[in-house]
């Protein structure tokens, strides 16, 4: 299947073509069926959700679920919290990650290798291992149940990969660019600010977006660091449509769609940078 050269069309070729299409169809159904159910269920009136036999499409389309998510639930506040946390995380991660990423890409210093390794290994520590101590530390510095507390904890997820992404992006920019600027009389700092950062700009934006997305996803840390609507992020609020005995599935699905749509849009816009950054980081190791 990986073969790409031309071959005479014949019975075998038709068979292979059907095989490929069948495979694509299977993966498409596996990937999209659950998502289609989410989207269509979110448009069903509450009476239609528990019908037997279940149907995929709503018989009657309604926006009532979205209305209840945005007017009567804690979701709007939670989405605001998630945005604030995500922006804080992106800002902090970019500031720290650019500084470290630049040094790791450009400056030779003893221990640079160990530093990269230490930062990269950070992403292998299970979050549950850190749970107890992070919870205590955030409480101790007075940030319990605040968006700042959640954002600080999220740095442990975003810093390793983003630092590595930025390091790879800067390493890919020819050093001559800075040299030329410095020959023209710039200081090194100016050379970085006016020659390197503009070139790295789109990549840095993608790295910041990536940090935002990871924070937007995060569940386990946010679930223990938040106690009230004041700081609760969207993934945590989503689980609150389910009480012990009853789940409002229509509203849950509508809220799920609301949580997913911004991610898909961001991904489509930044796909190229994210794919390069991730595969570059992972394959180069």
């Amino acid at each position: 299947m990986a073969a790409t050269a031309q071959r005479p069309a014949g019975a075998r070729s038709i068979g292979a073509r059907l095989g490929v299409w069948f495979g694509l169809a299977v993966i498409a159904v596996w990937t999209l069926a659950p998502i289609a159910v989410m989207v269509f269920t979110s448009f069903k009136p509450s009476g239609e959700i528990f019908t037997v036999p279940p149907t995929l499409l709503p018989r009657e389309w309604t926006l009532a679920n979205y209305l209840s998510v945005f007017t009567t639930s804690s979701m709007p506040q939670a989405l605001r919290n998630s945005v604030v946390v995500g922006l804080l995380v992106a800002l902090l991660t970019l500031t720290l990650g650019t500084s470290a990423g630049y040094a790791l890409a450009r400056i030779r210093f003893r221990g640079a290798r160990s530093v990269s390794l230490f930062i990269l290994l950070g992403q292998m520590v299970p979050l549950t291992v850190l749970l107890l101590a992070l919870f205590r530390m955030i409480n101790a510095i007075g940030f319990s149940d605040t968006v700042v507390g959640v954002a600080l904890a999220h740095l442990v997820i975003t810093l390793p990969l983003v630092t590595w992404m930025i390091r790879n992006q800067i390493a890919a920019i020819p050093y001559e660019l800075e040299e030329a600027a410095m020959i023209d009389g710039c200081s090194r700092v100016d050379a970085v600010l006016y020659a390197v950062l503009p070139v790295a700009g789109p990549g840095l934006a993608a790295a910041g977006m990536f940090a935002f997305l990871q924070s937007w996803h995060e569940f386990v840390l946010a679930s223990v660091l938040t106690r009230s609507d004041r700081s609760r992020t969207a993934p945590i609020a989503l689980t609150e449509f389910a009480t012990e005995f009853d789940v409002d599935w229509g509203a849950t699905m509508a809220a799920s769609v609301v949580l997913t749509v911004p991610l898909v849009i961001a991904f489509v816009a930044l796909q190229r940078y994210l794919v390069n950054g991730l595969t570059g980081g992972a394959v180069k190791g």
């Binding site: 990937t31 290994l121 950070g122 107890l132 442990v156 991904f267 992972a282």
Partner: protein, 282 residues
């Protein structure tokens, strides 16, 4: 790339904030749990917990969960990457984007929609399988203790397979076409090409992808917690879920002991990771 005049001091200064942040967020918590687990109370908890049959069951489940979800993601992800290389697929970029969606979706959303699909009476999965005739009775996906772990592993596969597709797709694209051409001139058929050209070319990437999948699986929490909270009767409880439950009960000594077990496993994986990086350099 190398700059001869840049001082070492500047290098340290620039990495210091990130290093400090990572140290506070990882090293300090690790020291806290290790000290806690090594204390008198921790040792007592460890002695009873590590010997209990319930804990051995949890370890066994963690193993099954990891093997099933990693193997599934590798097979489906590799299959999808191969399919997208085919010259009969139009707009491979579009397909790749569509297949990525489960990976982009937050874990809590993925778990929620699968929970609904798995519903034994109202879920479309049982309905479809019954209509097609694969099953006669509705399957209790999330409430049958012998099925639930595999049903949840399927959700983990669903959300991580795109990651494999992405990495292996990049590796497959990087194989020069002449290599296939040369092998074909030597008389290799499709199975031969796959065996002797494709597989060796993607082996390093597959190793890294597997390692990351194992890490994802061992750290997995959200999908299980949101779907079943580890139930019914503990039949979907793996290490991180058990730790979280101890945390909720305020049983800090147990949290510390389980965290240490997780740390030992992660350290072994990290060793493999460091070795593969060193091997990649040479």
């Amino acid at each position: 790339m190398a700059s001869t005049f840049a001082s070492e001091r500047r290098g340290y200064g620039l990495v210091a904030p990130t290093l400090a942040a990572m140290a506070v967020l990882t090293i300090v918590p690790i020291v806290v749990v290790v000290t806690r687990a090594a204390g008198a109370e921790g040792r007592a908890v460890a002695a009873t917990l590590l010997g209990s049959s319930e804990f051995h069951l949890i370890l066994g489940r963690t193993g099954i969960w990891t093997v099933v979800s990693v193997a599934g993601a590798l097979v489906i992800g590799f299959g999808a990457a191969l399919l997208l290389q085919s010259r009969w697929v139009r707009w491979p970029g579009l397909w790749r984007g569509i297949f990525m969606v489960p990976w982009i979706i937050p874990g809590v959303v993925g778990a929620t929609i699968w929970k609904w699909n798995y519903s034994s009476n109202y879920g479309l999965l049982n309905h479809t399988l019954q209509t097609v005739g694969v099953i006669n009775e509705p399957v209790q996906w999330l409430s049958d203790p012998s099925i639930v772990l595999y049903a949840l592993a399927a959700v983990q596969v669903w959300s991580t397979a795109p990651f494999v597709m992405l990495l292996l797709g990049a590796a497959l694209t990087a194989v020069p076409g002449e290599r296939y051409e040369a092998a074909r001139l030597d008389g290799a058929g499709l199975p031969g090409l796959f065996r002797y050209i494709t597989l060796p070319a993607v082996r390093p990437t597959t190793a890294i992808a597997s390692l990351m999948l194992v890490t994802f699986a061992l750290n997995a929490f959200t999908i299980i917690w949101v779907s079943t909270a580890g139930g019914p009767v503990g039949s979907s409880t793996i290490l991180p879920v058990e730790l979280y439950r101890a945390f909720q009960n305020g049983d800090d000594a147990t949290v510390a002991v389980i965290a240490c077990v997780q740390l030992v496993i992660s350290a072994a994986l990290a060793l493999v990771y460091v070795r593969s990086m060193k091997a990649g350099d040479e």
